[in-house]
Amino acid sequence: MAKECTCNNRFADVSDLGPVDEIVEKYGQEKGALIPLLQETQDAYGYLDEDVMRELAKRAGYQLSQLYGVATFFSQFRLKPIGEYLIRVCHGTACHVAGATQISDEVINQLGIKEGETTPDNRFTLESVMCLGACALAPIMVVGDDTHGKLKPTGIKKILKKYAGDSGSQEEEE
């Protein structure tokens, strides 16, 4: 698979192992610091690339299976790259009662992707999450770093448009 950076340089390229060295330097000696190791690696690269994980395991003195076991257990870790904006639709109880399913449905409808997928233009990745703790503003979704609350399915199109940028995408078709 071609490994090219598609994220406007937000993250390090997976061929650059500089961040791995730094992270191992920081946590290598610490007992049980496997989760922070993976967290910072994901922060640096945007996801946990297989080759990067192999290097990480080797340099930090873990078995690859240990890293993989933890990476697949916790929902925070991703094994695939993400688009420029990560959309997280909250499905906590308050959001569910307030109609989160319809919010997700409408995002899926607008972007033409399923949960866990990235749009072909690499603009958006869609995830659903369990409770972001802003229940009073339910239903909510977070796009990048911005939280949008008290959503209505009919308002989703407008919100996504703000992030769609110049390249245009599905939601500008109509």
Binding site: K31, G69, F73, S75, G92, N109, C135, L137
Partner: protein
């Protein structure tokens, strides 16, 4: 109080809720407006005041100690607020939600009906300033305990207060500390459980964002009491603001000599580090949490041995929740008698609830134990939003239950709530109205626990899956007559045979909805009806010709062109073409779309 010689002090609520509602734009506008020095005001920010339903919120204090709280603030309102309130001293009545001079005003009773112990400083002090915390007496309890009390005396005081663990299980905190104290070994650990995973609970986030020093002070006291020199705060990664404020607070403590070696001038050393969770509900379970802190998959293990004897790295470990720690300094400062004077016979003190769902005032409600559910939901929460009917309150998240109207007089007390079929849990309170389908709500919780099951033991891993399949079938209109009995059998088997509390309590949402709302299950299965108008497979959407104004908004959003009608004339929905996505329902300005 107004300070720095200014006539007014203006405090902006700057927690996650506030920021999500637009507090950053308000903050920028405020800073910009006061830059020129035209206003006699000192700007500050604080964590969440609890008025989540009115965010962004600004409180303006005058030099006499009075204050006015304004809600629904926007950047646009800032110039008028400064010109009228700060420059001319005129309160803008239309925006006020609470006025210390007028207790009857507006939403004032939201706070008046609360009793704040844990949230005593939230929304009042700047969480990024240790000096503000010290100014109101912060770290006095820790100093007094470390310099003048023995660890046993601290434990006795906590035991006498009657406080029980606020994480959900309600185990007496003093007793737990006693076990950890007596457990042999030099190295002991203290952990603060801030992995607030229950959907619908956000009190720990609010405390960490609004008053991190109270939690740290509680931890210093606990570490001293049990003899632990190293502590960890296991906090969800989903709470970036709480994490950053904790980092600031810990750094400030080191600078003041409250953490590190020789704290408060004694020979005691104590340090706190933050461990970021990675998103697993089961890690709220203490043995699973410790496994993940050791760098393993977060799976629970059987107890005994209990963490007090063999916890993190096999050492004696004591784990308490954020809310518990935040209450400890108050108990040491005010005495155990003051704390135990609040509450019921077996549940002392106060409990913070997160009001959410269909309640009018969503936000943080801290009430004395012993309040009735009705008092919490109606007196504090202001009743049901949109004038609808109360149907149920869901307490305790995925491990909890749904209580109906007939249980509204139940007192908030560990034993009474459990007897009614729910649990106090971490304190989430999701209010459901007559448009919430209880079968769908049960299905939702089972899909949650099924998803979050760590997979270690079979009853939880497969049993919840089977229960979920049945519930999905019922919601899809394909329920079978024997499904209700099957759910009950599966529920009792899963509860009896699961290793940890996740599986052991997973069937609760189903059992309580079956107990109190069995008619809804029967309606779904036998009558093919969802009376709440919620489950798409069992409803029909139509338009009320009486109220429809013919605005055409629904036509524009309908993805299947199922709605037709002349402009300004009542519209109709073609039931054949309708896919029941309810887009029209959320769009209709006159609420004329009927789902039944």
């Amino acid at each position: 109080m107004a300070e720095n010689g200014h006539k007014y002090k203006l405090v902006l609520g700057y927690g996650t809720c506030g920021i999500a509602a637009g507090a950053t734009a308000v903050k920028d506008a405020l800073e910009d407006a006061v830059k020129g020095g035209d206003y006699d005001v000192d700007l500050d920010f604080a964590g969440c005041m609890g008025y989540c339903f009115k965010e962004p919120v600004i409180e303006i204090f005058d030099s006499a100690g009075g204050s006015v709280i304004y809600g629904d603030m926007t950047a646009k309102k800032v110039p008028q607020l400064l010109d009228e309130h700060v420059a001319k001293g005129q309160v803008i009545e239309d925006w006020v939600i609470k006025d210390s001079d007028d207790p009857t005003a507006h939403e004032g009773d939201f706070l008046e009906n609360q009793h704040r112990v844990v949230l005593r400083n939230c929304g009042k002090i700047n969480p990024e300033s240790i000096d503000e915390y010290i100014e109101i007496g912060g770290y006095e309890a820790a100093r007094r305990a470390l310099t003048g009390m023995t660890p046993e005396e601290v434990i006795d005081e906590v035991s006498a207060s009657g406080i029980r663990g606020r994480g959900g299980a309600g185990f007496p905190t003093g007793t737990k500390w006693g076990f950890a104290r007596k457990s042999p070994g030099e190295d002991k650990y203290l952990i603060c459980n801030a992995d607030e995973g229950d959907p619908g609970a956000f009190m720990d986030r609010s405390v960490l964002e609004g008053d991190p020093h109270s939690v740290l002070e509680g931890m210093i006291l606990a570490g001293f009491a049990i003899g632990a020199r190293q502590a960890y705060i296991y906090c969800r990664a989903e709470y970036p603001l709480a994490l950053s404020r904790l980092d600031i607070a810990i750094r400030e403590c080191h600078e003041k000599g409250y953490l590190g070696k020789n704290i408060f001038g004694t020979d005691w050393e104590f340090d706190v580090r933050v461990k970021k969770g990675a998103g697993a509900f089961v890690c709220g379970e203490e043995t699973a949490m410790m496994a993940s802190m050791e760098g393993k998959r977060g799976m629970p293990r059987p107890r005994p041995p209990f963490p007090a004897n063999s916890g993190l790295w096999g050492k004696p470990t004591n784990i308490n929740n954020v809310e518990t720690f935040a209450a400890i300094p108050w108990i040491i400062n005010n005495g155990s008698a003051a704390y135990s004077a609040i509450g019921t016979e077996k549940s002392k003190g106060t409990k913070v609830f997160c009001l959410a769902g269909k309640v009018r005032r969503t936000g943080l409600a801290e009430v004395p134990m012993g309040y009735t559910l009705k008092q919490v939901i109606f007196d504090v929460g202001g009743g049901i939003a949109g004038g609808r009917e109360f149907k149920a309150v869901q307490m305790g998240g995925p491990s909890g239950g749904c209580l109906p109207e007939s249980k509204l007089d139940t007192q908030v007390d560990y034993d009474q709530i459990t007897a009614a079929g729910a649990i106090i849990g971490s304190g989430g309170m999701i209010v459901a109205d007559n448009r919430t389908c209880m079968v769908d709500l049960a299905r939702y919780f089972l899909s949650f626990t099924q998803d979050e099951s760590c997979g270690k033991c079979t009853p939880c891993r497969i049993g919840t899956k089977r229960m979920l399949e049945i519930l999905e079938r019922i919601c899809a209109g394909e329920g079978k007559p024997e499904d209700i009995d099957m759910l009950q059998t599966l529920a009792s088997d899963i509860m009896a045979s699961s290793l940890c509390a996740l599986g052991g309590t997973a069937p609760n949402p189903v059992l309580t909805t079956l107990r109190y709302f069995k008619n809804e299950y029967e309606d779904h299965i036998f009558n093919h009806k969802c009376t709440a108008g919620s489950c798409p497979a069992l409803i029909t959407l139509s338009i009320d010709a009486e109220t429809c104004t013919g605005c055409g908004a629904c036509v524009k959003v309908c993805p299947t062109e199922a709605i037709t009608g002349e402009k300004k004339q009542p519209h109709v929905i073609d039931a054949e073409a309708c896919i029941r996505c309810k887009m029209c329902l959320s769009r209709c300005p006159s609420e004329s779309i009927v789902a039944e």
